[in-house]
């Protein structure tokens, strides 16, 4: 086996199919998207080359920047919420009663499809029959908020199900990372007289740090390109109040029939994601650099 794997040709042979797939399905479309972005094109007729005009228009497009700001807000919120997930995972990984059951409960949202979650939360947020407003009304609040119709509230109302949707995923990752920490370290610390808080902060956290860094990148990039719940629940509305970059791209390409400009938005989105990933890697890099993304 070792002999086979040291043969460069064999290695190439094995890598080739996957490589071809990735090139055809991921990289070629990315390059094409960038190329389409240089054109005025409605997706059907002839393409007209206009150079960087789409990208220049993009930089001046207020709607794009407001949707970029919404995406950024989502990225900030989902990164901050990682702290909560980490705390939950720390509690779950210590030997408490029912941690097994709780872990499964936290994971359930991840098993539901996005559309099902969207439908569920549409019901919760319904302005008159929704469980949330019914509850508020029973508390005596007469002017209950219109969660998905009020432009000032809608974005935050959408963040809650989005964070809820991914909570289980991150908790599971943290849980696995914390469970991997050798018991002996914890026992040694206990003998030295460390309390639970010190064990968590001084031993478990540093050892799980590499995983935390990965999740930060996942959360940031995942939020920047987020699309599904927003598309189903508000479609970016009312009038763009909950528009994010990906939903804006979709709207431009598929509703306004402006594939050229839509492609430019998509390509720009990719660049933003790459830059963010690079910045996060730089910021979290340590001396013995570990490659994780």
């Amino acid at each position: 086996m070792d002999k086979v794997m040291s043969n460069k040709k064999i290695i190439a042979l094995y890598i080739l199919p996957a490589l071809l797939f990735i090139i055809a399905i991921v990289y070629v479309p990315i390059i094409l998207t960038g190329y389409y972005g240089l054109h005025k094109w409605n997706g059907i007729g002839a393409m007209e080359f206009i150079g960087l005009e789409n990208y220049a228009a993009l930089l001046k497009d207020q709607t794009f920047w407001s949707s970029a700001w919404h995406s950024l807000l989502l990225a900030i919120f989902s990164t901050l919420s990682l702290v909560i997930y980490l705390v939950v995972a720390l509690v779950l990984s210590s030997r408490i009663k029912g941690s097994n059951l709780l872990r499964k409960i936290y994971l359930i949202p991840m098993l539901l499809s996005s559309v099902a979650i969207a439908q569920l939360w549409l019901k919760i947020y319904h302005p008159t029959n929704g469980i949330l407003n019914s509850f508020l009304a029973s508390l005596g609040i007469t002017n209950t908020p219109e969660w998905l119709a009020n432009p000032d509230v809608v974005l935050y109302a959408l963040f809650i199900p989005i964070l809820w949707q991914y909570a289980g995923f991150y908790i599971l990752i943290y849980y696995a990372a914390l469970k991997n920490i050798p018991k002996s370290l914890e026992e040694a610390a206990t003998i030295d007289g460390a309390n639970a808080f010190q064990i968590a902060y001084k031993i478990k956290l540093p050892l799980a740090m590499e995983v935390v860094k990965v999740t930060i990148v996942l959360a940031l990039v995942g939020s920047l390109k987020y699309f599904d719940l927003i598309y189903v629940m508000t479609n970016g509305g009312p009038n763009g109040a909950s528009e994010v970059m990906a939903s804006y791209m979709y709207r431009i390409a598929f509703k306004s029939y402006d594939f050229g400009y839509g492609s430019a938005v998509g390509f720009f989105l990719l660049i933003i994601c790459l830059v963010v990933t690079w910045i996060v890697r730089k910021l979290t890099a340590n001396k013995d650099q570990t490659q994780y993304s």
Binding site: L13, N42, T128, A149, G237, P238, N239
Partner: protein, 440 residues
């Protein structure tokens, strides 16, 4: 695991052959399919993509399948292969297929602005010849014109719709309300219902075109039909006094709590359920909703008996006519220009449109674009009344979002949502419309 690398290579080769073999098989199959269909007289397959899934549009779905079955019985060499998608998915799929020029042989399209890029891209075949054949003089006046561009017709309409205000007779009677004929009376109804704690109007403005209907009617009644029609075509400024007034009236209605709570975040389906559950008294919607108020067996007869309709009231001092409607042809059938079975597909469309006209009235309760003899068939009263109104119509203004080119329509729809949500002033609303339509 493996003794030597030869064996491993051998195994890999085996797999490669296996995979290649599968691919080859599939390839030949497809080729033979194509060979068959291009050979007329032999077996022909017509691909037909439509948007009436069994769940959402049971009536239409049944008729489509019946017509296809009959056609196949009459033309034994033809097989119609259908693909059914939901409205929004349908639009997206059509878009994606068109980029690779692989439209189905026959498909469903909307009129005017929606159709334009497809026609300009040379994807739809001209169907002028079908209008002079057995379908000559069968269409209601003004329906096929919406599918014509530069003198050629590119699709044949199936439906014709107008939008009345449906209302709940029981709620009106309980509160001693009469059907309004003037806008003042209408506003009074809104006020009375609000005092009783009943939502006056069900509106799902997440979908945006729903709010557009309200704006269009107010514009029609205040500024007059010709001004509205010209403005949508870019020949008149939206800063026109009457049109700005209409936008102000929309916001006045919002201020008067005329619409159900949270309308900007609710879909049309959610708003409709408010009306169906008798939580809202009025609902402005196209005649395609008629089956729900007449034939649909899933809705209780008790409720269906309560539904009436009235025409959008006239506004004092306005230039509009009460018999002027917002509406237009719904969907139509196109034949793909790149179809390998173009002639056969056209024949099928001709057959389909004719049969659809005969069946859809009784089967689905929709109003077809072809002429109907209402005297010879038993029809629900609501249907007959609306049908007669349609024949009396002084004008029918095509839905603004259908008429405008796609990107202007998108701006219009977003601004409608903003107008209803009061995040834009009527003046700014007019200004943005002008700039959107002039940049075309």
């Amino acid at each position: 695991m493996f003794k030597n690398k030869k064996m491993l290579v051998l195994l890999t080769l085996c797999f490669t052959l296996l995979v290649a073999g599968c691919g080859k098989n599939a390839g030949t199959n497809q080729e033979s399919d194509v060979g068959n269909s291009s050979n007329s007289g032999d077996k022909i397959t017509i691909n037909f993509m439509h948007l009436w899934p069994e769940g959402v549009s049971a009536g239409q779905n049944k008729i489509v399948n019946e017509i296809i079955n009959e056609y196949q019985t009459e033309h034994t060499n033809v097989t119609i292969k259908t693909e059914v998608l939901d409205n929004e998915q349908y639009k997206n799929k059509l878009k994606v297929l068109s980029a690779s020029k692989q439209l189905p042989d026959v498909g469903v399209t909307w009129a005017a602005g929606f159709m334009q890029p497809y026609v300009e891209g040379g994807l739809f075949a001209q169907v002028d010849d079908l209008l002079t054949g057995s379908l000559n003089d069968k269409f209601v006046a003004g329906t096929t014109e919406a599918y014509a561009l530069e003198g050629h017709t590119y699709a044949l309409p199936l439906e014709f719709n107008i939008a009345p205000i449906y209302y709940n007779k029981a709620i009106f009677a309980d509160n001693n309300l009469q059907v309004p004929t003037t806008y003042e009376e209408f506003k009074n109804i809104v006020k009375v219902l609000n005092e009783k704690g009943i939502a006056p109007i069900a509106l799902g403005n997440k979908d945006r075109w729903t709010g557009s209907l309200w704006y269009m009617y107010l514009a029609d009644r205040i500024a007059g039909q010709d001004v509205l029609a010209n403005a949508i075509q870019g020949a008149e400024t939206f800063k026109n006094e009457g049109l700005t007034k209409a936008a102000q009236e929309v916001q006045a209605l919002v201020d008067a709590n005329a619409f159900n709570k949270g309308f900007n975040g609710l879909s049309n389906e959610e708003a409709k359920s408010e009306f169906l559950n008798e939580k809202a008294a009025m609902y402005l919607m196209g005649t395609w909703e008629l089956p729900n108020f007449t034939t649909n067996t899933e809705i209780s007869q008790e409720f269906k008996d309560k539904v009436g309709f009235f025409k959008f009231p006239t506004v004092e001092g306005g230039k509009g006519n009460i018999d002027s409607w917002v509406g237009g042809p719904g969907v139509g059938l196109f034949v793909s220009e790149n179809s390998k079975v173009k002639e056969e597909a056209k024949a099928f469309v001709e057959y389909f449109v004719q049969k659809w006209g005969e069946r859809s009235v009784t089967g689905a309760g929709v109003i077809p674009a072809t002429k109907v003899d209402t005297a010879s068939i038993e029809l629900p009263q609501l249907y007959t009344d609306l049908f007669n109104e349609m024949n009396k119509a002084s004008s029918v203004t095509l839905f603004a979002d259908v008429q405008m080119p796609a990107n202007a329509a998108e701006i219009h729809l977003n601004q409608i949502q903003a107008l209803f949500g009061k995040t834009v002033t009527p003046e700014k609303f007019s200004e943005l419309h002008d700039s959107a339509l002039s940049s075309q």
